[in-house]
């Protein structure tokens, strides 16, 4: 029985981590209908930054996530300004493919400069620590990322629903032209949103360096899962993304233990297809 609880708990925490990674993507998609194909690579870049800060300046990821967040905010804003803004609305999949080009560029740039070798920080504040509740183990890194995830999602939700900026963003998301007529500088909003989306995944990457090794491919699977999550959650829904992330985390853990670990991700992709067939706009999409 305790094994079942452990599996569920692991799945829940993994899901929370995925939610943290996917939050930024969901925001960007919900506001500008753009899927940032380079999302996984943003995560990778954030991890590299946090690693180098940790390795060279001995600052723990528990603090360097701030730097990662800021760095990827800037990266996201630049991506919008120089890439996405110039192809949005021009052709069906232009922003998707443009960000794919970006992902290829970032991944191979890091490969070229940092080599494919895996790097992990030797001792971080969070790594290896755990909380024991009887037989159940809760890893501290996972718990902390889970907490960050919840806080961040709440913050985003609060931002969107209760602040003027959030209303402006929502207005832009619903009808760009109307928002422009209302005097909202939608281009600035888009820039901000892309940056914010980047910051979210930057924070995730910064924290991940506590216990995960960084290498040029580290973002791939996280990125793919993030795409699944936002589509599963539904267009424009941040609570949807959270729900989807938790579902995916649980499916991964349950399939991994009760079927076989090698089918973990098959189950995840299959669940996406199963749900999307029944609800073609995701769980809560509009």
């Amino acid at each position: 029985m305790s094994t079942f609880v452990q599996v569920m708990l692991d799945g829940l925490l993994a899901g929370m981590l995925y939610a943290l990674v996917a939050a930024g993507l969901s925001l960007i998609w919900g506001v500008m209908d753009v899927i940032n194909f380079a999302h996984g690579e943003f995560l990778m870049v954030a991890m590299y930054l946090s690693y180098w800060i940790g390795f060279l300046a001995h600052v723990d990821p528990l603090f360097s996530w701030i730097a990662s967040g800021v760095f990827v905010f800037i990266l996201g804003a630049l991506t919008y300004r120089f890439l996405v803004s110039r192809c949005i609305g021009k052709a069906a999949m232009a922003p998707l493919l443009a960000t794919f080009g970006l992902s290829m560029f970032l991944k191979n740039l890091c490969l070229n400069r940092f080599s494919p070798n895996f790097r992990i920080l030797q001792s971080t504040l969070l790594e290896g620590k755990k909380i024991l509740l009887g037989d159940i183990v809760i890893g501290l890194p996972q718990l902390v990322t889970g907490l960050f995830s919840v806080l961040l999602l709440f913050a985003l939700y609060f931002l969107m629903k209760k602040t003027r900026l959030g209303w402006a963003i929502q207005a832009t998301a619903m009808d760009r032209e109307a928002a422009e007529l209302m005097g909202i500088n939608t281009d600035r909003i888009y820039l901000l949103v892309f940056g914010l989306g980047g910051a979210c995944v930057g924070i995730a990457g910064g924290l991940l360096t506590s216990y995960l090794a960084v290498h040029p491919e580290v973002g791939s699977l996280f990125g793919l899962i993030a795409f699944l999550i936002v589509a599963l959650g539904g267009f424009g829904s941040i609570p949807g993304a959270l729900a989807a992330a938790v579902i995916i985390g649980l499916v991964e853990a349950l399939a991994g233990f009760y079927i076989a670990p090698v089918f973990k991700y098959v189950a995840v992709f299959a669940i996406y297809l199963a749900v999307i067939m029944v609800r073609p706009k995701g769980l809560f999409g509009w």
């Binding site: 890439l83 290829m104 080599s115 992709f269 073609p280």
Partner: protein
């Protein structure tokens, strides 16, 4: 249907084919050279891209799942040769038919998804196939299938002494696929496809069975992509899931077509003719700059193209006023 007139496009096409067919006559040009390898890959990838073009360009569905069909074709050939000790031909045919069938089974439910939901569903499908093939022992699983040393020739479809055989094989594939697309363009199916792409509801109101149309396009596309997969495995003497059934391979289908000009007849060829030599030569000759340089360049080109001219090379040519003879790329249609 009145007899169709031959447009200038057809004359250009005819001349190109004749030129390509005669190329091996030039001494030393083909042989066993790297040049030949690049030419073969250009023809192959152009064919692959053109097969994808049927669905995306002409029917308007951007699918990232084509490597599944490519892979089924590859495994068809591979299984025939390695597991059953036959020649690859029956395997490729079986693989292509299976791919067409699979495409219909997968696409039917997927077509009700829109936009990004559809695209992400196609990612999911590729990943599922990839991972399942990795654990499926009958097809070789993660170990893949390695070809034994076989005598050269058309029967086994392998050559080691010279590349001329592979070259003509690729050329035949190229002529076939481009020919099919030209046929579709000028016959009923093509008109239906364009109608559906222009607006599904409108087309249906005019009596077009959009489901049937899209599914036929998909089946054709999958069949042809599978044939390309068969060629690929023969050329490389080996198949395993990451080589053929991966998102990377799917992206190649997508990128070459889009960069060339999706929805246009020449787009896939132009895309392949520019990107493949770039990829091959930069990988072979820029190793001093470290790994991944060819892909860095690729990434930059994609970004630039999407910013400047999302309609691809065809779009650039049009802007320059070059008469491209025939259909304009997607987005500027009737």
């Amino acid at each position: 249907m009145k007899k169709r007139k031959f447009e200038s496009k057809d004359y250009i096409w005819g001349s190109l084919v004749c030129l390509l067919a005669l190329l091996p006559m030039v001494p030393g040009l083909i042989g066993n050279t790297f040049r030949a390898h690049v030419l073969i890959l250009v023809l192959l990838y152009a064919s692959m891209a053109q097969s994808w073009n049927i669905v995306s360009g002409y029917a308007g569905q951007v699918s990232f799942g084509h490597s599944v069909f490519f892979g089924i074709g590859a495994y068809g050939a591979g299984m025939a040769v390695v597991t059953y000790g036959l020649t690859p031909w029956p395997g490729v045919l079986a693989g292509a038919l299976l791919a067409a069938l699979t495409s219909i089974l997968i696409s039917y439910p997927c077509f009700k998804l829109k936009g990004h939901y559809f695209a992400i569903a196609t990612f999911a499908i590729v990943e599922i196939f990839n991972r399942l093939f990795m654990v499926w022992d009958w097809v070789g699983g993660a170990l893949g299938l390695d070809y034994p040393i076989l005598p050269d020739g058309w029967k086994n479809f392998v050559w080691s002494e010279t590349k001329v055989g592979f070259y003509y094989g690729a050329l035949a594939l190229f002529i076939l696929i481009f020919g099919v697309v030209r046929w579709i363009e000028t016959h009923r199916l093509g008109y239906y496809l364009r109608a559906v792409r222009g607006g599904q509801e409108t087309a249906e109101s005019l009596g077009v069975n959009s489901s049937a149309v899209k599914l036929s396009a998909m089946a054709f596309s999958a069949f042809l992509a599978a044939l390309c997969g068969g060629f690929f495995v023969q050329y490389n003497y080996r198949v395993d899931p990451p080589m053929v059934m991966s998102l990377d391979m799917s992206m190649k289908f997508v990128l070459i077509t889009i960069l060339g000009g999706v929805g246009s007849f020449w787009g896939p060829l132009l895309g392949a003719a520019i990107l493949i030599p770039l990829q091959e030569y930069s990988r072979a000759y820029l190793t001093s700059l470290g790994s991944g340089v060819d892909l860095i360049i690729f990434g930059i080109i994609i970004m630039l193209m999407m910013i400047r001219q999302p309609k691809g090379i065809m779009g650039i040519l049009q802007d320059l006023g070059v008469k491209t003879g025939g259909r304009k790329p997607e987005g500027e249609e009737n």
